[in-house]
């Protein structure tokens, strides 16, 4: 009996190790130098029983099954900091860490608060547990109509994939409305899917629920295939990442751009609309899935620089070294768990840096961020006066 158990445990490590090769560039795991840069740069590495470097070491020793009895892998916010810093370019975030979460989930070792978000995503197509019928309710108080594809029954230039938090979260809806106004002002021919849109599923995938991701992607793919449009745009870097890098592997292939790219292309049209509302110091937080995961660093800054009176000041962690807001890879649904483990919030850390930068405004470009950073401005000393705004809100603000 003991031998069988030992074999089964050793079997886990081997199976897990081999599965890493299925990820793009996965074989690079063999070249790990054990430099531990990954574990050092990880914002929660000091709280993990198995930061990436140690996970590889125990895997090489054939005893990684012990990881299944621990839960601190759930601290991983899939922020790509480890992947960015790895000298051997090992796909640590999409490969090692995501596979580890998949194994924990299959073993039933999953925090309850994450469980609800996954169940909601499966049931309602959004992790917030809101009615799918109400997905386009945010459009109600705009003074123009936002075309919903099923009702509009015509081809559009641009299909806007709105996303979960942008659709339902009361704070983020302000950003969503700002983008709708901007598209309207620029005379863009656009439409949204409304109730036919499902969660992009990317954060669920990075939280270890690959099957759920595929189910959601298939639903979105089916909705996309019903309509005619030239490209997809989104304000959500997570949706952008999914549609750009993950959906094509499932045969769902459409051109997609983040709004920062889409608007930068129209910057000369936008500039004449922007008024000088006085000088302000703005610092910009690079979202993980716009920056490190997709290398978009300049477009958001181009938009900010176009606003008269804006002076950009950088935080100490910027561009490829940007700090995660704590919401990625399932972090949006693990706030309580993270707090229990470390009594820290990554958003607090980031807001402290914003204070140090001397900025009056913390500009963001991801729907996860306004509520997270705004919460932190309420508790971080000296941050009381910092305003958290999506770039879209700053643009619309400069037009009014």
């Amino acid at each position: 009996m003991a031998d069988t158990v030992t074999e089964a445990k050793a079997g886990f490590t081997t199976k897990f190790y081999n599965s890493l090769f299925e990820v793009a560039e996965g074989e690079k795991i063999k070249t790990c130098l054990q430099c531990a840069d990954c574990s050092g740069v990880c914002p929660f590495g000091y709280l993990m029983d198995f930061p990436p470097g140690r996970m590889i070491a125990w895997m090489r020793a054939g005893i990684l099954d012990k990881m299944l009895d621990t839960d601190s892998v759930w601290m991983c916010v899939s922020c790509y900091a480890c992947t960015e810093v790895c000298p051997k370019n090992i796909p640590l975030t999409p490969g090692l860490m995501t596979r580890a979460k998949e194994e924990l989930l299959l073993a039933g070792n999953i925090p309850t608060e994450l469980q609800s978000a996954l169940e909601f995503s499966q049931r309602y197509g959004n992790p917030l547990g809101e009615s799918p019928r109400k997905r386009a309710d945010w459009t109600a108080d705009l003074d123009f109509e936002v075309p919903i594809m099923r009702k509009a029954k015509r081809p559009v230039d641009v299909l806007w994939f709105v996303g979960d938090y942008a659709s339902y979260h009361p704070r983020v809806q302000k950003t969503t409305k700002a983008f709708a106004k901007l598209l309207h002002k620029l005379g863009i021919d656009f439409g949204i899917l409304g109730p036919e849109e499902n969660s992009d599923g990317d954060s669920q995938r990075l939280a270890g629920e690959r099957g759920l991701f595929e189910m959601l992607a298939e639903k979105n793919g089916k909705a996309f295939s019903q309509y005619e449009f030239k490209e997809i745009i989104t304000t959500d870097p997570h949706a952008y990442n999914a549609i750009k890098n993950e959906y094509p592997q499932l045969g769902i292939e459409y051109p997609v751009r983040h709004y920062t790219e889409f608007l930068t292309e129209r910057i000369e049209e936008i500039k004449p609309l922007l008024k000088d509302n006085g000088k302000k110091k703005v610092t910009y937080h690079d979202p993980c899935y716009l920056g490190r995961a997709n290398n978009i660093y300049d477009a958001p800054r181009t938009l900010l620089e176009a606003i008269p009176g804006v002076e950009i000041v950088e935080m100490s962690h910027t561009k490829s070294t940007s700090l995660c807001c704590g919401g990625g890879g399932g972090g949006m649904w693990l706030d309580g768990f993270q707090w229990e483990k470390g009594e820290v919030r990554l958003s607090d850390w980031r807001v402290k840096e914003a204070v140090t930068s001397g900025a009056e405004i913390l500009a963001v470009a991801c729907p996860y961020e306004p509520p997270r950073f705004e919460d932190s401005t309420k508790t971080v000393p000296g941050a009381e006066k910092i305003i958290v705004n999506d770039i879209l809100e700053l643009l619309i603000g400069a037009m009014e």
Partner: protein, 255 residues
């Protein structure tokens, strides 16, 4: 090895606004989204926990409804051995007396040692299913249970009372238990496991011989609560509001 039957049902999901049907006697079922009754979900979890702890065989029985197959495949992925869907004229929903008779008839052939069901449901108009099933099968019933241990032909159950009191009692098997909460919260199963079950597991469909609603209540009218106009909004600045409040308290004899 205990033979455990979980009897469960789908109920209206309150994430959507509820609409009343044209006759004004019930919910408009065309607009309903259905979800497993939360307490039934705990009954399933308790059944699976008992199976994992003491070995056993778990059969889950549910009346046909939108989404019931997905729910049954999910319970299979959790570890249920047998899934039964009861078919019949259920489109308008059946009352609990009709359901209880159908459940009793379906459960009987399996000679269960233990029947677990949710202690209540959000669409219960005429009392819970558990006691009725117990009556039809001639078994004892204990409700508001939050823990079960099987010892031979007896079960030790933890029954919740108001005020935070817990009673531990012994019940002779076979018995029906109304589950308030499983010993663990209902578990999550990966979608990949559920999808696997959809390919490999089978749901046994059984026709309900007769849906007999006798004994149940008949809803004559269903309507939204009508707002009474008793509330008075007190306006003014803090001083004025405080003064008015004091006057109201004095008039009411509270000061």
């Amino acid at each position: 090895m205990a033979k455990i039957v979980a009897i469960v049902k789908m109920v209206p999901d309150l994430v959507e606004e509820l609409e009343i049907n044209e006759a004004g006697t019930g919910l408009d079922r065309d607009w309903l989204r259905l979800i497993i009754n939360e307490f039934d979900n705990h009954a399933i979890e308790q059944a699976i926990l008992l199976k994992e702890r003491d070995a056993g065989e778990v059969t889950v029985i549910a009346p046909d409804a939108e989404g019931v197959e997905d729910m049954l495949f999910t319970t299979a992925a959790k570890g249920a051995d047998r899934m039964i869907k009861l078919a019949g004229d259920l489109e308008e929903g059946a009352n609990n007396h009709a359901l209880a008779r159908a459940f009793a008839e379906a459960a009987k052939p399996y000679q269960p040692d233990l029947i677990l069901t949710g202690v209540q449901a959000n669409d219960d108009l005429d009392g819970p299913v558990g006691p009725l099933v117990a009556e039809y099968l001639g078994m004892p019933y204990v409700g508001y249970i939050s823990g079960v241990t099987i010892e031979g032909n007896k079960a030790i159950v933890r029954k919740e009372y108001p005020g935070g009191l817990i009673g531990e009692m012994e019940v002779t098997l076979p018995a029906v238990l109304g589950i308030q909460a499983g010993e663990e919260p209902p578990r999550y199963v990966a979608i990949s496991k559920v999808r696997q079950m959809m390919k490999t597991a089978e749901i046994d469909e059984q026709e309900i011989s007769e849906l007999n609603p006798n004994g149940g209540v008949i809803a004559k009218r269903m309507y939204l609560p009508e707002a009474a106009k008793r509330a008075e909004m007190i306006e003014g600045d803090e001083e004025e509001i405080a003064a008015k409040l004091v006057a109201i308290f004095k008039k009411a004899g509270a000061l």
